[in-house]
Symmetry: C2
Subunit: 169 residues, 2 copies
């Protein structure tokens, strides 16, 4: 089931170029984004391996797992700035009821009380996620956090949630 991927990896390893990279994020940057297969996080931002920590889940939502991962990236891996990047045409931009019905088609068991983090309103969800990260006790108060939307048909990023007015903090 996985031989095609492992065969490709053998060829990759035979010509491996990244042996000297360090674990620190060279550009002090972390990106929280969606699992969507149309997004190439590094290329879309002019980054190369070694530059940034990339966090991805369905929707690019700021869940407890993302807070954990960002906290670790900040505490030990040199990250000082984070972008939460949602995108157009996202599968999570649906009602919780519709997503639950879809999952029930393939799940082997009961869905129970799983939190799906559906995106009811793109702007509202993105602002909420940025605020959750900015106010988390797990990260420093001076962590820079922005909210972006990526357009899957143009590759262009728009800033939806900019820097807070520090004078009001």
């Amino acid at each position: 089931m996985f031989d095609d991927l492992l065969d490709a990896n053998a060829r990759y390893a035979d010509d491996f170029q990244l042996a000297k990279l360090q674990p620190q994020a060279a550009r002090q940057f972390a990106l929280v984004t969606c699992i969507d297969s149309r997004i190439e996080p590094l290329a879309a931002l002019g980054l190369v391996p070694g530059d940034a920590k990339i966090l991805r889940n369905a929707g690019g939502r700021v869940t407890d797992d993302v807070l954990r991962s960002v906290a670790i990236a900040v505490a030990g891996l040199g990250v000082t700035r984070v972008a939460v990047m949602h995108h157009t045409d996202c599968a999570m931009a649906a009602s919780t009821e519709a997503l639950r019905a879809e999952l029930a088609q393939t799940a082997r068991g009961e869905l129970g009380d799983v939190e799906l983090h559906a995106i009811a309103d793109p702007d509202v969800s993105l602002l909420a996620d940025v605020e959750i990260l900015r106010s988390s006790p797990l990260v420093p108060a001076d962590l820079e956090v922005t909210g972006w939307r990526y357009d899957v048909t143009t590759g262009r990023i728009t800033t939806v949630v900019g820097a807070p007015n520090r004078a009001e903090d």
Copy 2:
């Protein structure tokens, strides 16, 4: 704080090549891996944008958020096989106590009861993560799941947890 990245994105969008990609994973594959900046998930597996869903958190651990994201990838986005890929020299391969002490240095508030998902033993943690995913009620019983380790100094992937013996299921 983010102008360097947005400027690079403007250049990327001016020469955007991916406008025709579909949301389905063309290779029916999802990868769960770490946020580590040394890993380039697509290139390491011979994949291109459009091929696969990429999930990333600290350690590549199978958390509730990963189960949610895999379930969505399977139900709506064409995924039938998943690899959980941990890696050598991982920052999560530490004791929970050491990680908590490190996070406490930069956290603005109390860590509370945050679950850090430290990796005490690499093989044990990887097997546990594969089993959590294989047995989750949120995914189908026939989802193919494997456990890999990626060596950051060679680029080579080793299969640590292979296919289960279906006759014993």
